[in-house]
Structure formats: C-alpha cells, structure tokens
Subunit: 186 residues, 2 copies
C-alpha cells in the first residue's frame, strides 16, 4: 500500500467530511494532497465514486475503532456514551467546527440518488450502531431496548454534530451528552 494512495484517501475523507461529495472536486483533492493527476486514475481507475467509497470505508473503520475504545473505557454504557460525546465535542471544536460527521453529508446527498454511495454509508452506520448496541446489551438493557437506544445514540451523534457545526458552538454536543446520560440511567 503506497503513501500517495493513502494521502489521496485521507484528503478525500477530510474534504468530503467538510463539504460533502458533490462540492468536492477531484482537482481540489489533487491540489491538497499533492498527488499527481495521473496517479489518481492509476490508483482509482474506476473514478471519483470509487474513491469516495474507499474514503467512506476507511473512515468507517476509524470511527468504529474510536467507538470500540470509547465503549471499553467505562463499565456503564451511560458513562461510555456520555464521555464519547464529550470527546467528540472537543474534537469538533478543535477543528474550528469544520469536522465532525465524516459521512453525514455524503449520506444525505446520496440517500436516494446514488446507490453505491448509499450502500457504503448504510454499512458504516450499521457497523457503528452494532458497537453501541453490544455495549448496551452488556450493560443489562433488554435486547429490544438496546437496539432502540443504539439507533438513538447514533442519531443523536449525527444530529448534534450538525447543530454544533452549523451554530459553531459546542453546546449541542454537550447538551446531548448530558441528556443521553439522563436517559440511560432513567
């Protein structure tokens, strides 16, 4: 696996996280990654869409690893999830509200217009949700409620990121952290 190829993927992740799929052109990816145009098509002969899918998969693995670590950091799911949200809030703030929700924009852009991208996003969300659900199951919630709560947690993460980035304020993420904690101990 080459460095240039990784660089292209990483830059694609970053740009599509910030502005989505259609607003990210290949020339911008090339410029910001320093990769030559010939290399882009050498490594990604299927083109832009295939590159985006690789970027989604790459970022999905990173987030899954973060989620697993976050879930393992505390015994009680409430503490784990609250802490995860607080860490995320810090990350979003540190990025100047430019990062957060790595696939959110793509997921919406592609939900009904691009099957391949939609499938990649769907898989990512399902992987992440499964990690949270496993933690809730471990924490003693019934299977039915664990599934429902896991879905809600992912929704809250995505929604709170959108609000924080739009309002350029970390409060929505912190509010979400607090209230999810209340719900999970209810």
């Amino acid at each position: 696996m080459s460095n240039k190829r990784d660089e292209i993927i990483a830059t694609t992740c970053r740009l599509m996280e910030m502005q989505g799929y259609h607003a990210t052109g290949l020339n911008q990816i090339l410029e910001e990654s320093g990769a030559p145009k010939g290399s882009l098509y050498y490594y990604f002969p299927e083109g832009k869409e295939a590159l985006a899918i690789e970027a989604i998969e790459h970022t999905s693995r990173l987030i899954a690893a973060n989620l697993r670590a976050g879930m393992a950091a505390h015994d009680h799911p409430a503490d784990a999830i609250t802490d995860f949200l607080q860490t995320l809030a810090h990350y979003v703030q540190t990025s100047g509200f430019q990062a957060g929700g790595p696939i959110t924009a793509i997921a919406l852009e592609a939900a009904s217009t691009n099957e391949a991208l939609n499938a990649a996003c769907r898989d990512a969300y399902q992987d992440w949700q499964a990690i949270v659900e496993a933690k809730l199951n471990e924490g003693g919630y019934t299977a039915v409620r664990a599934r429902r709560l896991a879905s809600l947690v992912i929704a809250v993460i995505e929604g709170a990121i959108i609000l924080s980035r739009t309002q350029r304020n970390v409060a929505p993420l912190l509010d979400a952290a607090t209230e999810i904690g209340v719900l999970l101990r209810c």
Copy 2:
C-alpha cells in the same frame, strides 16, 4: 407574488432537500419547475445562492408552522414531541425516503464554506429550537433544562432523519420517538 417564482422556490426546496446544494443544478430546477431560464434570473438576479437562501427561509417557515401545530396538539411536551416524530416518520416513509431534513444537507455542505447559506441554516435551526423550548418551558421544565432538551430534540430529529433515509427504514424515527418520550417523562 407570481406563481412561477413560487414554483421555482418550491422545486428548489424539494431538490435541495433530496440531494443538497451542490448536487442541485439550476438546469434541473428549471426542468422540473417548468420555468424559463430567463425568468430564473429575472426573479433571482443574485443567482443560485440567493435562490437557495430564499428556499431555506421558505422551508423554515413551513417547518416552524408544523412544529407550532405539533406542539399545540398535546398538553404534555412528551406527547407533543413523540407525536411529531411519528408524524414525521410517516412523511419520510411516504416520500419513499427521499424527503426529510429540508436543510440538513445544505447545512453541512455550507457549515464552513459558505457564510450566507450557513447563516440561513443557523437561523432556521434556532427558530425551530425556540418553538420546542417554549413548549418545554410551558410544560414546567426548568429554563436550563428546557434549553438543553430543545437542542437535543432538534438534534434527534435531524439525526433520525439521516438514519431513516440512509437505511430506507422508518425504525430510527420511531425509535427516537419512543425514547424521547421516555426521557421527557423521566
């Protein structure tokens, strides 16, 4: 106020709700609204961005009206918000998972790259949040908690829409409805 102008705005709302700002080209808006190209610039001389801002403002007013009606439909905020989410779930499903979150994609695309669009989205979210917050205040929640919960509710709505549309399944919205109800009665 002319019909053609309204038609253009309505089409813009629909297309940008489905796929976002950058994926929506003026030619598609023209084609689907049946408006002549000359008219587009006649009515919106400042161009695409100004049109999008009008669309955001237009849709924000509609959602605000829906939210007010939803909040007024029940005495207890828990019932009002739960019911609102269930109605929304039905709407998203009926659209074949193509609609929902009228400004979500734009909000993310523009969060750090387009100040005017970002401001329009920020105003919309704040208007909606204020409506939910007022209902919570009425319902006897402390001012601090009402504010926090209102933020969470908007986040949950946005997040659950993303998941439902990505997964083409109404469950995330229904799960959110159930668990928000639990939280608000906790």
